[in-house]
Amino acid sequence: MSSKRTGRSSFVERTLVDINATLEQSLFAEQTARLPGLLQELDPRLKILSALLVLLAVGVSRNLLVILVLYFLVLALALFSRVPLAFFVKRVWLFIPFFTGVVALPALFITPGPVLVHLPLGLIITKTGLTTALFLLLRVGTSVSVAVLLILTTPWNSVLKSMGVLRLPPVIILILGMTYRYIHLLLHLTNDMFLSRKSRLLRRMRGPEERRLIAATSGTLLNKSLQVSSEVHLAMQSRGFRNYPRTMDTFKMRTIDWLSGAVVIITVATAIWLGK
């Protein structure tokens, strides 16, 4: 999202681009989550717990190779789940440089240790620096891949419902679901507000004008949120909401789920043991 910082486009355009990218992303995720693939077939509760276990294995590993192998396993899973591989790799690694590459890069030079390479400008890459930077990059890359793969193969509603296995209070899960739904509404509203403003613009706005616009948009959005919330409340009441959410639990663990769970546990245990 930060790559749009270049160029002289106004903040209205940049925000519009970001909003549309977000909407597009969630649409795309819902789409791939409905494809017939390996992970899409599995129980969402199993997938959430497995994702957490894999994240833990990636987190505790003190061996770069183990993390690398785990990353390739995730890639293989993505492949079998019909997630477009180029898209998957790009989505993870295009956005990591901004968040982590920049942080990992200086570590190459300033971590004390045996010298690996001399560079011009008196910079030195140390061996420890290289290792630590690789640790950071691989760990972050693999973790983000796990999270992205989970959401690309599981509809958001199923993720929410199965969050009950993490012992989240049902109220929170209910609110999470509503939030997700209203994020889309508010994004559309914001999109409309900015678009209508942009269509009336003849020149670049000045700084103070831009700030006034952003304040007015945020404030209107807040007012709208409060208004919609009372409307939703009335709607809930009229449909008989009685202060406690109820969900239908339709998930069933099948043989293939138990089998996959066993595979995940063995893999994670091996990874943790090898990465010690």
């Binding site: 910082r5 970001d18 982590t100 910079l123 420890t128 972050v140 939703v232």
Partner: protein
């Protein structure tokens, strides 16, 4: 002049060039990330500890939700969380032509109170972590602590300290919102820097290679704090203040929002308690009358006078401004009495009033303290 120059030179020579490069790049990175720590920066042990630290705040938030769990709060929190999420996507134009993102935690706290703001920002963070890969899943505890606990509580305390009891259209509210947003996010950045900084100390391989975030406290804290204090926090301050100013013009009731659900039970308690005191005051007035009745003063004292005086001043005096009321009255009335019995009773009344005031002040202090500890 040359001395200054040489001093400056020695200062810059002291710091490795790579370190200066690092600060520069780190500052740019912070602009783009709005402080969402990804998985991999913190060791799992740290992540678990952070979960344990934020757990009480979640319990508090959920309890607060249940406490006022009218069905109304469910969509309200959902909408505020959605709002917080969308606000995080706004590219806020800052002087100099660049843009950056705000968190929105300060604004949520000002409007809904810190406990519920914690839940709203937490929900936005969960959706970002799970759905958009923005911020880690294991790091959720740490991210929640920085952005959903430290930021709302600190900024709410500052906003309240500056704007408490101010009219809704007061300029101090805008100032309080801005200062709260600025300090809140800067303090949150300090904690994030601390979480980064302890990693290389605690988690490294045998030969000293850091396993997670590689920079020590001496680098990570100044980098996080300065970069945020100069760029990200002013944006949080700007958006919080701008929206508060906008609400002052268009929807003032939103600014009282936190008052309605939060202070009203306290207020109703106060009203009940005040009624009790008025009843007590009436009793106190009646008791001396009863003592007086078999005593002497019937001929000198008209009952109308007494009752009118008792009813006129004591209940109201107990209710409010009793200090101001009782002092001149006791000074005025006592010499005129010429009756030791009456004087004694009256001084008893005055004593009761004084004790009442002390008790009232004490209770006020305790309730203020209580609500303050809730806030901070």
């Amino acid at each position: 002049m040359s001395q200054i120059k040489s001093a400056l030179n020695s200062l810059t020579r002291g710091t490795p060039r790579s370190l200066m490069l690092y600060y520069g790049i780190f500052a740019i990175w912070l602009l783009t990330s709005a402080m969402h720590i990804p998985d991999g920066y913190l060791s799992p042990v740290t992540s678990i500890i952070m979960f344990i630290i934020v757990l009480p705040f979640w319990v508090m938030g959920v309890r607060k939700l249940r406490e006022k769990m009218t069905a109304k709060n469910v969509p309200l929190i959902a909408l505020i969380a959605a709002f917080s999420f969308v606000i995080m996507m706004f590219n806020v134009p800052i002087p100099g032509g660049t843009t950056a993102h705000a968190v929105g935690g300060a604004l949520a706290a000002i409007i809904m109170g810190p406990e519920i703001a914690t839940m709203a920002v937490l929900i936005a963070l969960v959706i970002q972590a799970f759905f958009f890969g923005d911020g880690g899943i294991l790091a959720l505890g740490a991210n929640c602590f920085n952005m959903a606990v430290v930021l709302p509580y600190v900024s709410y305390a500052i906003y309240q300290a500056i704007s408490k009891n101010q009219p809704l259209i007061s300029k101090r509210r805008i100032f309080g919102a801005a200062l709260g947003g600025w300090i809140g996010l800067t303090v949150a950045a300090f904690f994030a820097g601390f979480e980064f900084g302890i990693q290389p100390m605690l988690f490294h391989t045998a030969n000293g290679t850091p396993l997670y975030a590689p920079y020590p406290l001496s680098v990570s804290i100044p980098a996080m704090v300065f970069a945020h204090a100069l760029v990200a926090s002013p944006i949080e301050a700007l958006i919080t203040a701008l929206v508060v100013a906008y609400l002052q013009r268009t929807n003032q009731s939103a600014l009282e929002f936190v008052k309605k659900p939060e202070i009203s039970p306290e207020l109703s308690g106060f009203v009940r308690w005040r009624a009790l005191w008025i009843g007590l005051a009436v009793l106190i007035v009646l008791v001396p009358i009863g003592l007086l009745a078999p005593g002497t003063a019937w001929g000198e004292w008209g009952t109308e006078q007494l009752s009118s005086r008792g009813l006129a001043f004591i209940p109201q005096g107990m209710a409010k401004l009793s200090g101001l009321w009782s002092a001149p009255l006791s000074g005025y009335d006592l010499p005129a009495l010429r009756n030791s019995n009456l004087g004694y009773i009256l001084s008893g009344i005055v004593g009761t009033i004084v004790i009442g005031i002390v008790a009232w002040l004490f209770t006020m202090l305790v309730t203020i303290r209580k609500s303050e500890t809730k806030e901070t």
